[in-house]
Homo-oligomer: 916 residues x 2
């Protein structure tokens, strides 16, 4: 979790600003092109790629980009612009006027602009866009004349007023229940005119609408709609820059760790019109299927529409294939563009186009967002097609993606037995069941209350982001694969079906009707985001294909996803330097982890073994013992259980290293918390209730996290360490003496060490017991004894500790708690505040705080190896499964990471990416 | 609390060992002298000073020292000796034989030895000693013949067998109730012979006693008493080396932070006899009074006795002045020796001597242990006498000593109203009241149960150490100022009266009788260790003379201790580099601290202000508020109280800097814990009990130490920070506008910062409020805003934090808790284990863990100053009053330490010593 300050340093965004006044703030594209695709930091993704497309000869309407630096200036000065910007913008407008042969604000042949945001990383739908800018009461007339299409001109104007009124002048619903005010005005007019479709509104009707829109703005804002083209332009530019800090953009940045310092660029581009008639169209396309990665031309378009109509999902667009029939020429051109784009950008592209009077214009291209599954498939296949090298392909797969090949799917039998009530576009693969909710806020509330929900909407909008994040899956009845719902689902890895047009959702009645089935809010629904099928009720899930192959329940040849998985894992294993182990406490977990590619156990928590059956009684007897003798007697009873646990693990691991952590939690964690169990315990142990209560009271701790636990237990009660060591070595001996002997490599790990002397104390016990057991069993066991590095003092004195330890394993969970002085259990009270104020860019328990905790890890690694050059270093905190953290651990030179069994493939991939 | 490993590095004890076999293990002293007083590390204090005395011509019986390195070898190899030692010892014995003209083990003129321990630092009574070694059934006859005193020879032999049987062969009481077995045998014989005094036993009787002693040894050990002189020597040497690790020595080392690696040397010295007749004597003397520091020849002796008799307190010795009458020649010689010693060693000396047939022999000298009061007086007076420079004198006063001039004394009126029931030797100054206990174990038990006790013993022995440590004061009825009780009291700074011979203590009846007063175990008793008077019942205590002078209640000229104090403080202020501030929350505390020399407030904890009167209700209202509005309303009520608190502090501090820490503890600490108060609160606040209970439940934390506290509160509830900042600035403004304006320098301190961003968040609020208040009040307040460094991340990212902070104050309490992962509240469960196993050499909350926490302090200081060269650095944890920690803080370059008011003088002195 790099803190704000450090990210800043990495961006270099601030550096340029210090230089002279002659800073270039505006970059042209078109016939004259200043930028290129490498300038994303300065021009944003959209601006840089518009420049690149213009440069390689694709048909891009001319325009210019105002840099991200201006955004930063704008944010820091609370709305001011750097000196000289105005002149540079004017010059750029002039250049466009020259290229287009039109004049901005002209009453005869007006040049119109679109104004769009464009950050360094795409943030679809997060910021504002304004189209048709430059129209006013005069220019609209000119446009009508020039285009010969009066209705078109007035439609453009009313759209412009609506967007500008909303985005720049803030005419928006005033609460959750109020409808979009411009829509209300339009609906009212349509009702008066008894017109149903917008398309049936005549030019006259639209003139009336414009009048009413302007009145609405005046009423709401006490200001007139601006008529001056440059006033409009600056209003729009300011609104876009301002939208960088709107709530949904901030939330989005938090989710994707985009620093607020990056800022957005603003792209001002000559308008082309997809809505000038039936020889016009607008669309969005992907060079491959972004949902499953298949190599098909994928996209959708609307005839006679503006770009925003496609994304907004107001009209359900047509699949791109139909364009071949409707506009064969444009379709052919698009196919050429598709190939050219992939060949040039060497990645799947997501692009926007407009056809104006049968002429194709490219409005944007970018690397397409894709689901995890698609990421894997595209990388593997593009490598096969020699569009990507192995290394590039590997780097193109977000490590988390591999998870989507492993997530549960609906149990095939259960799914087969269920009848789909409807189907939609499969926009986010996977299986999800949950209670139906119809609003994002309900979704959030229900999830906080512990329920799983499926968010069902006619369509989604950026305001729904939080609710979508909370839901198991998303279902929409309207909108295509490039609708907001699909876009977000793709990025969040959410199960999603969109455009299920036979589903009728009624927000007021809170019902969802599909054919004869009526479902209410709260009812269960299940969606298969891979097939697009929707089921009433809950359906059981089962293992993914990959998992079934790994566990021998499906032939590899039967599963294409398995082949994708194994190709990627093959690459990963070829390039990674770090080993990947797993955190497993039982033979079952161990077996599953080995199937996922684990190369050993990095953390076996022995305390989990004490809860089952009789053991907990003996454990409690041990804890409540009055003296060492009683304690030893209870430990004697625990010994055979522990021995059995360990021999089970050793058998399952077949000679792979097994790191066993000795008892760690404070003893009171094992005691019953309710009176009944406590009284039963008293009876079982043959002591009075008072004795039990008193001893429990004595064991109470104010801050158990910092209390009598870890090696402190072993220091106070050496007999516990003895028993555990004995169980380990006796188990090892027994497994080595089986008919088919199994090699055993136990690595015994002493937890919570802060002082060399306490480690020494424990290590001596382990060695003594090892000697005893090896002598008694006449066997030589290869074992090592090491320590957790999980409190700051251990890291600070790692050189001293390394004199005694044979390995270090970083316990980054506790190390984070102590280094940040932050209890994971108690963070709930202020975590949201810290996220909102951007003090935490991430949850430090999910992704390592590299500037703080990371420094200690680095220090400990260096100090440890200064004493023992080849000291084995690993990490067994939950960060072991987090790609960003893995990258860091690789840079520090750890030998392995250890994570939960299902995270092993992610870790393997992340380790490889880190090594590249 | 330097860990074991690091102390090792400092000693250099191990280095030499690696070299060749020709290591010198044995150092002679006498006519041939190999060592000198600078070789204490190798020869121990006693051995080095015996060599030094021999070298400057004082009459030292010849002998040799076996080095501490041999002890270390002996401990590490569990009882083995380095190669070549045997030959070196033999050669050394030969040299002594030559000088004395006697032969070791000779049947005609046997040379006898004493064998004594001697560590680098004196550990009186902690280890074993054996006298008269070399006697056996043959040599005893030769000794009798040669000395012409058969009784003397047999008395030496029986003493030797007793010591050797006890120390080397382990014939000791088998439990607490059993008497010393050799005493039992002797008592039986005396009964049989109807003899009362040992002195009345004839040579024949003693021969019988020797027979019975040998039989006792045979019976107990199944071994015969060894007859070979060299066997005896090696047995004794091994026993002394072995005694380095006996329980009482280990406890002593823990108390005085003596690393176990130091080891002890063994001194083997030709016997001289103080018990050969009435022209013989033995004694212990100090060149000045060790109890109060007065320049008088001070000591005691016994005619016709061996040295151990004096220290053991078996016979009450006579004051040294009487020797002038009894042995005028020896006394004259001693006066010469006394002056020579002080002039040569330039410090008060504690020495042992023996007069054998009117000839004086010096057996030992060392810097005398002294009480705190004596330390101060001796340093001041020796400086006046030009025996010490100012700097040396300063360095000779343990900083803690100054405390003994400040500890409470009995209230003079109450003491005058009480009648002393007895008096003894004032051996440890000060006043103590407590319940009478008669055994060390009872003392320990009672103190654990929370009672204050006075340990009353006939005499004390090393076994009583733990009990003495636990007691408020110690009273003995037997033994002089060099008795065990007096020695230990001197070192522990315990109030002590010894040799109160009119007091009759009966262990069996558990009574103490003084004249007509009978006191029982559990009764109150009061002892004045300065005057030696004993009182029945408890007496109130009052301020020390120094404190009364400082507070204007006593004229400086009336108090010699005040003049001592002010001389030492004058020196301290001249040499120290660090400022000394105080931790004070109220004007009263501030005034008291200023009297003690505090130069500002380093920590004002604002939370303490919220508990009084109505405030706690408003505080609770604030905490339980449902929203910001309710919270602000409660804060508004708290504002005037806080403002008043701060203006009080500002007035008291008269322009000295005041560091105010904003609210720190988790809010639930302010809530009531019992149901009744909770219900009253519900009524007061007009909410339901359920609401209260629910909100309290929501505030519960698993690990409050790591929870929602410190600046995290201000981040979540900026209105709290606002209110506190407003109170500070409004108070400052009001004080600056008084008729007699007072300068104000508030330093506002944000607690628990770990991230630059959170500090920034809080600093911005403070600056905003400051601006508002200054504008409203039309005044300019000079203030700074800084931060606590109290969690590891703050230290690690101190460079980032320093960009925002104007000062750092190390909160070493919390920094210790987080760096060590160690809750101070929960350490009780294992602290003893950690002390016993020497994992902790000290309580890390009392003395800074320099190798762990200290490294972070150093890192933060460096990183902070790398960004702001003159960043003000202070420390306000409890370590600010600990001399060892202060030394460290000085070395790191802190600007000030802050400690509790009564610790200010100690801190001033320690800061000066650190600077020297």
């Amino acid at each position: 979790m790099p803190a704000k300050a450090s990210k800043k340093k990495k961006t270099g965004a601030v550096k340029r600003k210090a230089s002279s006044k002659a800073v270039k703030h505006v970059y042209a594209f078109g016939k004259k092109t200043d930028g290129n695709s490498k300038m994303k930091t300065l021009l944003g993704g959209k601006g840089a790629n518009l420049a690149e497309m213009a440069a390689i000869g694709l048909p891009v309407p001319p325009g210019f980009t105002i840099t991200t630096e201006v955004c930063t200036h704008f944010s820091q000065t609370k709305g001011k612009y750097p000196a000289g910007l105005d002149a540079q913008v004017k010059a750029a407008v002039k250049q466009v006027e020259k290229e287009q042969g039109k004049l901005f604000g002209s009453k005869t042949d007006p040049l119109l602009f679109s104004v769009r945001s464009g950050a360094r990383e795409s943030m679809p739908g997060m910021m504002d866009t304004i189209l048709n800018l430059g129209l006013n009461d005069k220019t609209v007339v000119a446009l009508a004349k020039k285009s010969g299409n009066e209705r078109f001109a007035w439609d453009c104007y009313r759209r412009f007023i609506q967007m500008y009124g909303d985005v720049v002048m803030g005419v928006q619903p005033r609460n959750d229940t109020e409808h979009e005010p411009f829509d209300v005005v339009m609906d009212k007019l349509k009702k008066e005119l008894k017109i149903e479709n917008d398309a049936d509104l005549s030019a006259k009707n639209l003139q009336e609408l414009v009048k009413r829109y302007k009145a609405l703005i005046k009423q709401r804002t006490k200001k007139s709609f601006p008529q001056d083209a440059y006033d409009q332009l600056w209003g729009a530019v300011s609104a876009v820059f301002g939208s960088w800090n709107n709530e949904r953009a901030v939330i989005y940045r938090q989710k994707y760790n985009i620093p607020s310092e990056w800022g957005t660029a603003v792209n001002v581009q000559a308008m082309v019109f997809g809505n000038m008639g039936d020889d016009c169209a607008t669309g969005v396309a992907f060079t491959r299927d972004p949902a499953n990665g298949e190599k098909v031309f994928y996209g959708e378009y609307l005839i006679n529409a503006q770009g925003e109509d496609v994304v907004a999902g107001v009209r359900t667009p047509k699949p791109i294939a139909q364009l071949a029939d409707e506009m064969p020429h444009a379709h052919k051109e698009l196919e050429v563009v598709r190939k050219k784009l992939e060949k040039h950008f060497r990645d799947m592209q997501d692009f926007e186009f407009t056809v104006e009077s049968n002429t194709l214009y490219m409005l944007q291209t970018r690397n397409g967002k894709r689901t995890g599954l698609a990421a894997v498939r595209i990388a593997v296949e593009m490598n096969k097609e020699r569009l990507m090298t192995e290394k590039v392909a590997l780097s193109k797969i977000p490590a988390e993606s591999i998870d989507s090949l492993l997530v549960p799917i609906f149990d095939p039998k259960a799914e087969a037995a269920s009848k789909a009530i409807a189907a939609g576009l499969p926009a986010g693969p996977g299986a999800a069941s949950g209670h139906i909710v119809f609003s994002a806020s309900t979704a959030e509330r229900e999830v906080k209350a512990g329920r799983k929900v499926i968010l069902c909407r006619v369509e989604t909008s950026p305001e729904d982001l939080k609710g979508m994040l909370a839901s198991e899956g998303i279902l929409t009845s309207r909108g295509g694969v490039s609708s907001h719902a699909a876009l977000v689902a793709r990025q969040l890895g959410k199960v999603c079906i969109c455009g299920a047009s036979t589903v009728k959702i009624d927000y007021e009645k809170k019902t969802l009707i599909a054919g004869k089935t009526l479902l209410k809010e709260g009812d269960f629904i299940s969606i298969n985001g891979t097939s697009g099928e929707i089921f009433a009720g809950a359906i059981d899930t089962t293992d993914s294909e990959v998992k079934r192959v790994l566990e021998g329940n499906l032939k590899p040849s039967k599963s294409y996803t398995y082949r994708l998985f194994s190709t990627v894992m093959g690459w990963a294993d070829k390039y990674r330097k770090m080993k990947v182990r797993t955190n497993a406490d039982t033979p079952e977990m161990a077996v599953s982890a080995i199937a996922f590619g684990a190369e050993g156990i990095g953390l076996c928590r022995t305390e989990h073994m004490f809860f089952e059956g009789d053991r907990i009684d003996y454990m409690r007897q041990m804890i409540l013992a009055g003296d060492e003798k009683e304690r030893r007697s209870a430990l004697k009873k625990l010994l055979p259980f522990q021995r059995k646990d360990f021999s089970g693990l050793f058998k399952a691991m077949k000679g792979l290293p097994v790191t066993i952590r000795l008892l760690d939690p404070p003893l009171h964690e094992f005691l019953p918390h309710d009176d009944t169990t406590r009284h039963q315990l008293a009876t079982k142990l043959g002591v009075s209730r008072e004795t039990i209560n008193e001893r429990m009271k004595a064991l109470h701790e104010e801050n158990p996290m910092l209390g009598h636990r870890g090696c402190r237990l072993g220091v106070s009660y050496p007999e516990i360490t003895e028993m555990q060591a004995r169980a380990i070595f006796e188990a090892a001996a027994s497994v080595m003496k089986l008919k088919k002997p199994i090699k055993v490599s136990p690595e015994i790990m002493i937890p919570l060490v802060g002082f060399q002397a306490e480690l020494k104390d424990q290590v001596e016990i382990v060695h003594r017991v090892a000697k005893e057991v090896m002598a008694a069993k006449k066997v030589k066991i290869a074992y090592t004894v090491g320590t957790m590095i999980e409190i700051p003092r251990a890291a600070i004195t790692a050189d001293e500790i390394a004199e005694v330890a044979e390995f270090f394993s970083f316990g980054t969970n506790d190390l984070t708690q102590t280094t940040l002085g932050l209890s994971r259990d108690d963070m709930g009270g202020f975590f949201d505040d810290y996220r909102n104020k951007e003090i935490f860019n991430q949850n430090p328990f999910a992704s390592l705080d590299q500037d703080g905790v990371g420094k200690l890890v680095e220090m400990a690694a260096e100090k440890g190896r200064s004493v023992k050059k080849n000291l084995k270093l690993g990490i067994c905190g939950e960060h072991g499964g987090d790609p960003a953290s893995i990258k860091f651990f690789n840079s520090v030179g750890l030998n392995y990471v250890s994570c939960s069994p299902p995270r092993v493939p992610v870790a393997r991939l992340a380790a490889a990416q880190a090594a590249l």
